[in-house]
Symmetry: C2
Subunit: 297 residues, 2 copies
């Protein structure tokens, strides 16, 4: 499905819509901007001091005008201290698109059929680190505190916003176990919908292979009941662990015995096409004979 | 970092907190529930008809009581039609945790230091399908409409909430090109932060290997400028494509020439430990000699 982008806004005055005979308007400083898809964005500022009646009439008339002008949707950004205006927008048909910290964003689809506006983030990302000491074949495992079943697992936790997958693994391993490590590769990905604790959203749980940079365990007793270096073979075939930990332990054992190139997704960083930002790309290592030198977009 | 879970609520009456000398309370039906971490959850119902002054005094007094009782945080769920109460909560220090459709959720951290409450979803997930016809080595590619640069890429788009990675790939390929296909494997993952169009969130872009079930192209002219079956070798080394498409084309060529087991992350479905739900796990295929039969948690 084609979802609509909200970038590349070009501005004009919403007030323009409201200068109609029979309606007298206060000096509303609201600005509406039309994006290249024909959506209108209105951003209320904390400095705006709109009466509810004025906003209600203005919004009602503006929506009529936007429909008449063939606009496809409205994006309405409301500072938290002006949230009394939200229920007025809701009466006009707006619903929450998302909200964070001190602002909420509401949308109204103006065309027939279901909204084609892009949704908000759908996944939280959790990352665990399988720290393997290649000198002795031992891997770092923990047992969570406050669990009904004590299962061995790899230390890990949720990514912070903007944090790279490998950085989360290294940080969580250090916080939980006191072990310093470095990212080597990505081993597995689990997708779980309606994940408990994800507020109705989905969860991606990624397990990375890490190399230890220190060896003395100093684990977080708030989080962990136990923490130890366990023989990889033992973890791969013991019963008091989770399916994922067991499968990844077997995968790690396979790589340890026969070469990590068989199980690793390695990471490379590249510049993004338009934004000037960088991204990380993970896949099986590509043999040099397949590497090309064409200048790409 | 240990983030706090919001499951396993045990209920008691918030009103209990408010029965103090010197304060007369209307019959507030608000219920507060304490979770196992010591957080309090208050859920306003659309049926509640609270005056703003009553809510303000009640919330202020309740927060004092919760602090005194050693509670760590408050979760406040507010129906959209009662959003006039949000700015009152904001004056008490609450901020938005998230909002969707007809409800917003605000939180207040009651302890010292930064909040340890779990965040909301941080990633959108986009999926593309590399549909390879193994009989002739041709792969299905498109050029997006409305782009400043016309680059060949694999058809794809954003996952809907609750949609499996493979299902998104198959759906998007069908919607954009008219080609029916089936999921074979996961080939690569890209992580991009501050992704344009992701509302400040991050983007995971996953490319899957698909097998065609039909061959006659009937592409969506709204979304695509061009769509064709292109020789995989040509795509892997042509210049008018993106870095990711080129690298995945080379990876696909490597698999096509020397065996897809070298590049595929295969998918298996397993039951979740506690929730009774199922999840999908992706990693390199594990040789049978490494498979074990222990009964796991």
């Amino acid at each position: 499905m084609q979802r609509l982008c909200v970038r590349f806004l070009c501005g004009f005055r919403v007030r323009h819509f409201c200068s109609q005979p029979g309606l007298s308007w206060p000096n509303i400083e609201l600005r509406g901007k039309v994006d290249k898809f024909g959506g209108v964005t209105v951003r209320l500022e904390p400095s705006h001091n709109l009466g509810e009646a004025v906003f209600e009439t203005w919004l009602h008339e503006s929506v009529k005008q936007w429909r008449a002008a063939g606009r496809i949707a409205v994006w309405l950004h409301i500072p938290i201290m002006q949230s009394r205006l939200i229920s007025i927008a809701a009466s006009e048909g707006f619903t929450f698109h998302h909200a964070e910290r001190n602002e909420s964003t509401l949308t109204l689809w103006l065309k027939d059929g279901p909204s084609k506006l892009p949704g908000y983030a759908t996944h939280q990302v959790g990352v665990a680190g399988a720290v393997l000491d290649e000198d002795n074949g031992k891997v770092l495992v923990v047992q969570d505190r406050n669990k009904t079943v004590n299962a061995w697992k790899f230390p890990g936790g949720l990514s912070d916003q903007g944090e790279d997958i490998g950085a989360t693994a290294v940080r969580e391993v250090l916080e939980e176990t006191g072990i310093h490590s470095e990212f080597k590769s990505l081993l597995s990905i689990r997708q779980q919908h309606n994940h408990p604790g994800a507020f109705g959203k989905s969860d991606l749980y990624i397990i990375c292979r890490l190399k230890p940079l220190s060896y003395t365990i100093n684990f977080c007793h708030q989080e962990c009941l136990k923490c130890e270096w366990m023989d990889l073979q033992e973890l791969a075939y013991c019963s008091n662990t989770t399916i994922i930990t067991s499968r990844v332990a077997k995968l790690l054992l396979y790589g340890y015995n026969e070469g990590f190139h068989l199980v690793d997704l390695t990471m490379r960083t590249f510049p993004a096409v338009y934004s000037g930002l960088f991204y990380s790309l993970y896949h099986k290592e590509l043999p040099e004979t397949y590497e090309g030198s064409a200048t790409l977009l």
